[in-house]
Symmetry: C2
Subunit: 331 residues, 2 copies
């Protein structure tokens, strides 16, 4: 504003009044100021505009890992839907790192985004991070209760239940769970579903059958091989594995293969997500399909309606999307 004031020969206060169209100034002054703004392209400076309007027509998406197919598909879908409706999306990748999450939320906050899609990498969302009260949709990670916040997620419990029921129906009796060493609600629910199915059919479930591997990478066959080796070496029976994601399932299939244990004859394996890899790996994976399109539609819809002020009550919603079993060669 100082620069504009200098160039148009008026005071900063006058420039401010013209920009905000607020207070007294002559038509001549308005023209002078607007000409300078035009000439030096201050007009296109959306930063100044945002500061004035507090409506940036942008949203932010916090995503734990843009390289994960499930997340990148969701991000892509929401971006496309909202762009068509006039909102630009800034995508921020956090590597599941809490400090990065904090930093990016602050950053988006200060860029005055109008809304947020928040896919946290944390076990528990620290919603105090969200300082401005803007419409926020959480996907797959439950936040503590907060105003202006909706939750969209797959029916993870049903998924774990369906996977385990399928293994039981295929005759498995010693079903292990293969999962990562984190404690997020979506994975906990999948394991809860496993336990429910086990107890319903076999009238027991056993924490010892839940194997947690440190798997920070997309594919780490060594760690999975070691875990499965330990089970076999201890002469424990195993005839089924429910892996809480497709990459773990694929790891397990390859580890079993290396040990000359036949999938599906000796051990049957079910994954989770229905990533592209599940269909094209050999043997192809039986898995639980998350309905990514519905997640995208619901999240975009709730966020959009809140952004345009059509329905803020939607933000109290907790939408649970049904999952389905896809049977392939590993069972």
């Amino acid at each position: 504003m100082q620069k504009i004031a200098e160039l148009s020969g008026v005071s900063i206060a006058t420039v401010s009044r013209v920009i905000n169209d607020n207070g007294r100034f002559s038509e001549e002054t308005r023209k002078k100021v607007l000409d300078v703004i035009d000439k030096y392209q201050y007009k296109t400076n959306a930063v100044a505009k945002t500061l004035r309007m507090s409506k940036s027509h942008t949203i932010g998406i916090i995503v734990p890992d843009i390289g994960n197919e499930f997340f990148s598909t969701i991000v892509h879908g929401i971006e496309s839907n909202l762009f068509e409706k006039g909102f630009s999306t800034f995508i921020c990748n956090t590597d599941k790192n809490k400090e990065k999450e904090k930093s990016y939320i602050k950053s988006l906050d200060s860029k005055m985004v109008d809304g947020l899609v928040y896919i946290s990498g944390q076990e528990e969302i620290d919603d105090s991070l969200l300082s401005r009260d803007i419409p926020t949709i959480c996907i797959d990670r439950r936040p503590r209760i907060k105003k202006n916040l909706a939750m969209v997620e797959s029916d993870h419990l049903e998924g774990g239940y369906l996977a385990t029921k399928h293994l039981l129906e295929r005759g498995c009796e010693n079903i292990y769970v293969l999962t990562k060493q984190n404690n997020i609600s979506s994975v906990n629910d999948r394991i809860k579903g496993y336990k429910e199915a086990m107890e319903e059919t076999l009238h027991y479930s056993n924490e010892d059958l839940i194997i947690k591997v440190a798997n920070d990478f997309k594919f780490n066959i060594e760690i999975t091989r070691k875990a499965i080796n330990t089970i076999i070496k201890d002469n424990k029976k195993i005839d089924g594995i429910f892996a809480t994601n497709d990459w773990l399932a694929l790891n397990a299939v390859m580890a079993l293969n290396d040990l000359n244990i036949n999938v599906p004859n000796d051990v049957k394996v079910v994954g989770f997500d229905d990533d592209t890899i599940a269909k094209y790996c050999k043997p192809s994976l039986t898995t639980i399909r998350q309905d990514v399109n519905s997640i995208i539609e619901e999240a975009s819809d709730i966020l959009y309606k809140s952004l345009i002020g059509e329905s803020t009550s939607l933000l109290d919603n907790h939408v649970v999307i049904p999952v389905s079993l896809v049977t392939r060669e590993t069972t």
Copy 2:
């Protein structure tokens, strides 16, 4: 500033002087203004700060398809590298749509990003879009010459040459190219490499052997099947296919499989990229590996050094990263 001026009982011009630490004001005035700024958290408003400093410590990445593994890996890598060095990254997905590209570049421009990684989806980059003169790295799509712009890409020509040479060495004589109907420099170079190898060994190359399929999707087996059907039906000989990406190669393998043509005995197939799918599909794909890590390192390094003003001459660079042949089951 108007609000701060009101609350601290000084003029807007004084507020401006205090914020910019520029001009005359008493220590008492400074304290009064800063107290108001503190109290109402104007301090944390990075929008105002950006306007003042023109250094946002943010960069933007324009990416044609965040769902594409090659791109998402690059974006992820650059984001991680630059975050460690104090820069936040806003990722913008353009769906290869020119209007979206324009809109996001404008949007990032007006958010005052300090630098840009530009992976265009266009056949020719319209560099007039880049209105602010900020360090810009183009990956995989060549721009027309512009100041402050570097180019990092794989050696696509060598890749096409290596793929074709490999098929020739395996005894193929009727080698088709399977490619998409676009005209970007990276794909054109791959085809040029194919022609060079053909001419070097067989002393001819034939435009009729280059099949362009309309493949907008990750996986569209019908279109590929139709293309291959046409070749077979016309009694044309075919014993090798160089597909310009791994998904096209996988399409081709499945289409050949459906026609009871054995891969690799009857027809050998080479892909491009070395996506994860190439390793885990069955038969696993022989392909040209792009050295994604080197692309990430080079792009991050050039951009970072330019951002901190260490070396702007790097921006004239055109870095070409070597590729390599990965031999698997399809050849």
